[in-house]
Symmetry: C2
Subunit: 236 residues, 2 copies
Amino acid sequence: MLTFTEENYIKALLKLTEEVGVEAVGTNELAAHLGVKPATVTDMLKRLKEKQLVSYEKYGKVSLSVSGRSLAIDVLRKHRLWETFLCRCLGFPWHQVHEIAEQLEHIQSNELMDRLDAFLGFPQIDPHGDLIPSKDGVFQVKPKRTLSMLAATQSAVLIGVGDNSAAFLQYVDAVGLQLGSEILVKRIQPYDALIEIEINGKTSQVSQKFADQIFVDTPPQRDEISDVGLDVEGDL
Amino acid sequence: MLTFTEENYIKALLKLTEEVGVEAVGTNELAAHLGVKPATVTDMLKRLKEKQLVSYEKYGKVSLSVSGRSLAIDVLRKHRLWETFLCRCLGFPWHQVHEIAEQLEHIQSNELMDRLDAFLGFPQIDPHGDLIPSKDGVFQVKPKRTLSMLAATQSAVLIGVGDNSAAFLQYVDAVGLQLGSEILVKRIQPYDALIEIEINGKTSQVSQKFADQIFVDTPPQRDEISDVGLDVEGDL
DNA sequence: TTTTAATGTTAGATGAATCTAACTTAATTA
DNA sequence: TAATTAAGTTAGATTCATCTAACATTAAAA
């Protein structure tokens, strides 16, 4: 049985490796991500190694073991199922659910999660557009295309976000975006690289930093293939 | 902000005083109830006193302060709302919900509980028949009549239980009882005080210990007042 | 009233998770 | 290659929640 803190460490490792597509991470990076000091991380890594959750050698990089990865994915699954519950059933705005799910993800009961999963109709995507790992831990990260990769005059559909913080998500709300929204890139300022976008007729200027966190799907336009909408929740 | 453990101590204090109708409790009793050693309780009581949650003097009995009681009631409210959610929405049998709610009751978010409360339709009674405290902490314990107080030939309706452990509740299930069930006391063995009861035509023998934990409402019978059923969930 | 039993406290230890400050190793740059 | 910087570790301290073992107080019984 893992402690809350141990669960948070392996979850962070999952995020910092798999989501970025990197093999292993350093102590400092982990510390920064978790908001603790590097020394604290070193201590914890020793404990995680003893429990065979990570592979780690002194002064080297860390990566999750097979069992560590599987436990981390389970925590992530809980997190995303709870987020889905909070939005869909309790009507929370998406910028509030992450913080509460950070607590709920540590509740220990497999049966609870299975029942919640069934209650929600076995959702595949959470309120931020992230894939919910299946019960048996199948979980792979799709390569992501971001708004910042688009050229002027291109349009795309919002399928996810790379930052779940309340501050970022409220900004997303403010420009009128939600999952499934169509985004048109009107032009990119040559001078400061600000991107002018249009959503439902409303025009906004956003930064590269912002655009890096906006994941999009580019619908086939030139090929004249007929309308393929994003079905956020219905694709079993 | 209280720690999980502090919340558990004040919850235990609420239970050991109010539910039993006693002013204050001793260190040993608290320790026994929480499954820790008396020395541990002494330490914790000092901390709780510093935080003004209890009134306590060395070698004396402990009781909750006004603010301690209010916080304890809030924990109890969360516990019972979660239990209601687990039974009603996720279909958990009542003997499983207590353990999971022991974890969920410590999640910190007032908005979460308010939304859950609304989602459940502002329930007043939890799956064990206990009153759910209202948001403003109004909560009084009704004096309880138990099955063990009934005489032979009397009948009554199950309105609650005094023990939420899985072992006890499964026993209750086994004799065919659920909230609202009508119980007929057929006779009481003079020799060993076993109580013979009938529920839906099914006869069982139960002990005094068991009967002490079965809370009942005795419908007016002799007075010929017409049928008054127990409406477990609908009485706003 | 004195002894005994029950109850409660103190002191010292442990493990988890954190910190700061000092030190070591690895990587980069001149 | 040597010096500097970045990254990582160790040592020692702190807080929380717990323990055991020894001691103190209160209540009950002889």
